[in-house]
Symmetry: C2
Subunit: 232 residues, 2 copies
DNA sequence: ATTAAGATAATTGTATGCAAATAATATACA
DNA sequence: TGTATATTATTTGCATACAATTATCTTAAT
């Protein structure tokens, strides 16, 4: 497989929560950790900052962007709207090649679910949804969604960890089924079905996360508790 | 006024089209032009690349992102949806401080229109709409809109140049009036009125740009003609 | 003992030099 | 003359040294 760039390496560590939200990132430590000089480290941090995964304050270093419950609400709020938009566009504009890409991502997701490799699942899930966004042929929706996914992936990392650890096979299969249904609707250019399918998928995920927040403790603990309610 | 960072300087040159779309940016030239060494130049280019204003290809340098008609269509398509979303949220969630910010931006816009300083108009127009987005309290909508504005500003730069040059006072006053109406609706938390107002504003701008594309030549020439129609 | 100011250390911002990759040019061969 | 290859030059990527800023520690005064 292709060698991962320094940017991708650091990003991976953040997404997989090996570098937790809120961590202060001083350049020297990153130099020692990743074995590269400060220049490429700084350049990576700038990219990550533009992506929203780290926050840079002038002359005061960088920290991994914290996750709070307002972030969570915002992710679903913006995600719902933008997904609905590009899903509709994908039905209208997707090429055969787009369908190829979506199909491949869908299969990868299924196989990663099978293997139970959480960071792989998170990655292929993102790729699946992004490949649909790309089918919509509007770069602003793609970029916006990429921005949302950056934060979403960290939440997903926590959530999938819970599901896999508790061997929650029903949920796993539901997710796979929903992806299949969505894929088929877009392949058929069935706008109504696709929109309904994304909404169903999104609601299922929202409900799952909400349950985790209420029942479990890991997610809420890692996110950092704030007294902000999730909207219905 | 506060000294502008190198990033802001380069960004300004791109927005104002002093560095035209498609321009190849080699680091050495930028060093000579801005009087700083390659390191901060490179870091600025990376930020601009993440923002979508320049495109970096590994080992092959950077170019200012071109503008084509598909970009124009995408801007309006995504912009309409996201504006509608955050305008609605702003009505629900804006604080008194948000209203302050919006009011200040609106006044700045009016005064810049009066002065006829195009790059100032473009900047204060962006600030006005962004301050509304911030009232919506969803960082993804803010970031998404910022991304759209980055490209929109270059279009706006061309369009305002035409309007100012042709002394099109009617259009100028309409824009100012629409901003005022929108501001008032948000201050009153009148969701319906605000949504209608953004839609009207957006349609007016769309129509204006479309006319420029048909009648004038400057915009279409600078953008780079492609045979893609604007949707109604 | 607490606080303020100064000195010292640590960290980020910038400049420059070297290595690697790409582009341009020259030369050899068909 | 056209093409392929080798060589040179240019440009980007990375490493390191220095400057400027911020943080920490020491010390003195109240």
């Amino acid at each position: 497989m292709p060698k991962r760039s320094l940017y991708e390496q650091i990003r991976h560590e953040i997404i997989t929560l090996r570098i937790p939200p809120g961590t202060y990132l001083d350049e020297q430590s990153l130099v020692e950790r990743f074995g590269m000089s400060r220049t490429p480290i700084r350049e990576s941090l700038i990219r990550l900052s533009a992506e929203g995964l780290v926050e840079i304050r002038k002359n005061r270093g960088a920290t991994v962007t914290p996750l709070d419950l307002l972030t969570l609400q915002s992710i679903f709020e913006a995600g719902d709207l933008i997904e609905k938009a590009f899903t509709r566009l994908a039905c209208l504009r997707r090429t055969d090649q787009d369908i190829e890409h979506i199909a491949r991502a869908q299969k990868q997701f299924a196989s990663d679910l099978e293997r139970g490799d959480i960071s792989a699942i998170v990655e292929s899930n993102s790729r699946f949804h992004l490949s649909i966004a790309e089918g919509g042929k509007n770069k602003y929706f793609v970029d916006s969604y990429r921005r949302i996914l950056a934060d979403h992936e960290r939440i997903a990392q926590m959530w999938y960890t819970e599901q896999i650890n508790s061997s929650n096979q029903a949920i796993i299969e539901t997710l796979d089924q929903q992806h299949k249904t969505l894929y088929k609707a877009i392949a058929d250019r069935d706008t109504k079905a696709a929109e309904y399918s994304t909404m169903e998928h999104s609601n299922f995920c929202k409900e799952g996360v909400r349950k985790s927040l209420i029942i479990g403790e890991s997610v809420i603990a890692d996110i950092g508790l704030q007294d902000i309610g999730l909207q219905g």
